[in-house]
């Protein structure tokens, strides 16, 4: 556990917040796809911590960011915290995204707040692996979009889809991915995805049908966050269950049964 000071906690889109923490251990060691397990309140309710993907770290400034959407009690308490307050967190936890071989084209597919860990991933791909690729992002509506400029700043070309068509194409980012892969048949690519279950399922299908490796960041309700309670199970392709917190949250698409 660390006690991390809140540096910033600001709305970046409709009901989406960016929280920046002073957390040198996280800043030093985090990999894209790993998460922080955050205590939203000191009291007995809500009881559990909340997991959030790391959306960025700034090593020089000792900071780590998460981007979260207010959906319930925990995130709503979080959104009321002010800079200067201290947050109790565990992490970085879990296994993040593996970097591709040189020469591979990274294709990023993000849905909603699932875009968060992909921002950090794009940074690493570009700065460490020297790879730039394409990002296909989907949101419900224009007012909930965020992060496009970040991908662009790392040299990614961005295509947008919104469910209501208020921005980009009307529809889902998986359609953008499909269109792209149809037009660029022979590309040596790798897919990275995070978002709602339906999105991951679809990405898995598409990647499999094109014979492209895909890495998916999964979500499950978490207890301990470190593999002790066996609460965050996801069916393994080989039978039995993997634990999202310990074996993931990022899995190779073939490892797990998403539904």
């Amino acid at each position: 556990m660390h006690q991390a000071e809140i540096i910033l906690n600001e709305k970046v889109a409709h009901s989406i917040y960016l929280l920046r923490l002073r957390a040198n251990k996280v800043a030093e060691s985090a990999n894209p796809g790993q998460f922080l397990h955050v205590k939203c309140t000191k009291g007995p309710h809500p009881l559990l911590r909340r997991p959030f993907s790391i959306a960025d770290v700034q090593r020089k400034k000792d900071t780590a960011d998460i981007i979260y959407r207010v959906v319930g009690e925990g995130t709503s308490i979080l959104s009321q915290k002010k800079p200067g307050e201290v947050l109790d967190l565990m992490g970085p936890l879990g296994r993040g995204f593996p970097l591709p071989l040189p020469g591979t084209l990274p294709l990023i597919v993000g849905g909603g707040v699932g875009v968060a860990p992909l921002l950090f991933l794009a940074k690493k791909l570009s700065k460490v692996a020297g790879l730039e690729g394409r990002a296909f992002l989907g949101f419900s509506s224009a007012r909930e979009t965020f992060g496009m400029e970040v991908f662009e700043s790392y040299g990614f070309s961005v295509e947008l889809a919104t469910v209501d068509g208020t921005c980009g194409k009307m529809g889902f980012p998986t359609e953008l991915l499909e269109d792209y892969l149809k037009s660029e048949k022979k590309v040596k690519a790798i897919v990275y995805a995070c978002g709602p279950r339906m999105l991951l399922l679809k990405v898995k299908e598409i990647a499999a049908s094109c014979g492209i490796p895909a890495y998916l960041s999964l979500e499950e309700r978490m207890g301990c966050g470190i593999g002790a309670c066996l609460g965050c199970a996801v069916k393994s392709a080989k039978g039995g269950y993997k634990k999202v917190c310990r074996d993931g949250p990022v899995f190779e698409a073939g490892e797990v049964e998403i539904w």
Binding site: P44, R221, C229
Partner: protein, 308 residues
């Protein structure tokens, strides 16, 4: 200086704060976060004869100040345990209590038998109260006769002290506690999870595939505390109290109600350091209350001469 040590079921604990089965894995996971040797004792995840996959997701659901779980006793089985977990556990500088579960009395007997050569096990905790499995589990703890039978069978096989872990989902927990005492249990653990459920209002179906799940956490504390208090007046064997312990104050409540030791479960998810904080809190409390031994506090709430 407060003497925090307690003796329970023949085991000496340097302090009365253990971790509850199933919330601490096989200790290794948390050993990276703090020194597990500071605990009073470590209790393992429940072990069955054969490996168990556990239940399909979701396995956890939060409720007001509580947690429903339907893990379903996922574990490597007794052989897997001996092969993969015991080598680490046996080197801990702290008593290790192995929690066991079975579908039949015969299974309990065989697990106990298989564990009996393992020098270094401090006690077996016999889980006859798991609500998350198809067969056996909680059923054993709902009737005095079957509770008696299981504990008797384990006791016959086991060179180690035997702790019976009871289900709170009964009309009269004293009846069950008396039965396991008679069967030779060296202590009782109270309580396992309460049977509960949740409904997904969007999908209009139970959240859990097995419908029912086990409720733990602060929500159940008043019920657990009541059961400890009741059982303290019914049996002579010591009680390990658990169910919703979140801070030192809760631990003190359990001890005053009659628990010789306590176990922290779900609260660890909220704060892995909770057991250590509770140890310090108990020490401070004893000091403030001029008690030199924590064991002097056990059951104090039962004195009728208390200044009412």
């Amino acid at each position: 200086m407060v003497d925090l040590s307690v003796k329970i079921a023949g085991i000496c604990l340097k302090n009365p704060v253990m971790v509850a089965s199933g919330t601490f894995g096989f200790a290794r996971e948390y050993s990276r976060m703090f020194d597990v040797n500071e605990l009073g004792a470590v209790v393992t995840k429940g072990i069955t004869l054969l490996p168990k996959e556990g239940n399909p997701p979701p396995r956890l659901f939060e409720t007001p100040a509580g947690l429903l779980n339907s893990v379903g006793l996922e574990n490597p089985g007794v052989e897997g345990f001996i092969r993969d977990e015991w080598p680490y556990l046996k080197n801990l500088q702290v008593p290790v209590i192995v929690n066991i579960a079975g579908e039949t009395v015969e299974e309990y007997r065989r697990i106990a038998q298989r564990l009996s050569p393992l020098e270094g096990i401090s006690a077996l905790e016999v889980n006859i109260s798991c609500p998350n499995v198809e067969k056996g589990g909680m059923a054993f703890s709902r009737h005095p006769d079957s509770a008696y039978e299981v504990v008797r069978a384990v006791k016959e096989q086991s060179p180690f002290p035997v702790i019976a872990k009871l289900s709170p989902n009964v009309s009269d927990i004293r009846e069950i506690a008396l039965a396991v005492e008679e069967a030779g249990a060296d202590a009782v653990s109270l309580i396992n999870t309460m049977l509960g459920m949740a409904v997904d209002v969007e999908k209009k179906r139970p959240v859990f595939k097995r419908v029912f799940a086990g409720l733990s956490g602060p929500a159940v504390k008043p019920i657990a505390l009541r059961m400890v208090y009741e059982v303290y007046e019914a049996v002579k064997i010591p009680i390990i109290g658990m169910g919703g312990i979140f801070g030192w104050r809760d631990a003190v409540e359990f001890i005053l109600a009659g628990a010789s030791a306590v176990a922290v479960g779900s609260a660890i998810f909220s704060d892995p350091a909770a057991p250590l904080k509770i140890i310090r809190g108990l020490e401070d409390y004893a000091t403030r209350n001029l008690k030199t031994r924590i064991s002097d506090l056990v059951g104090l709430a039962h004195r009728n001469d208390a200044e009412f």
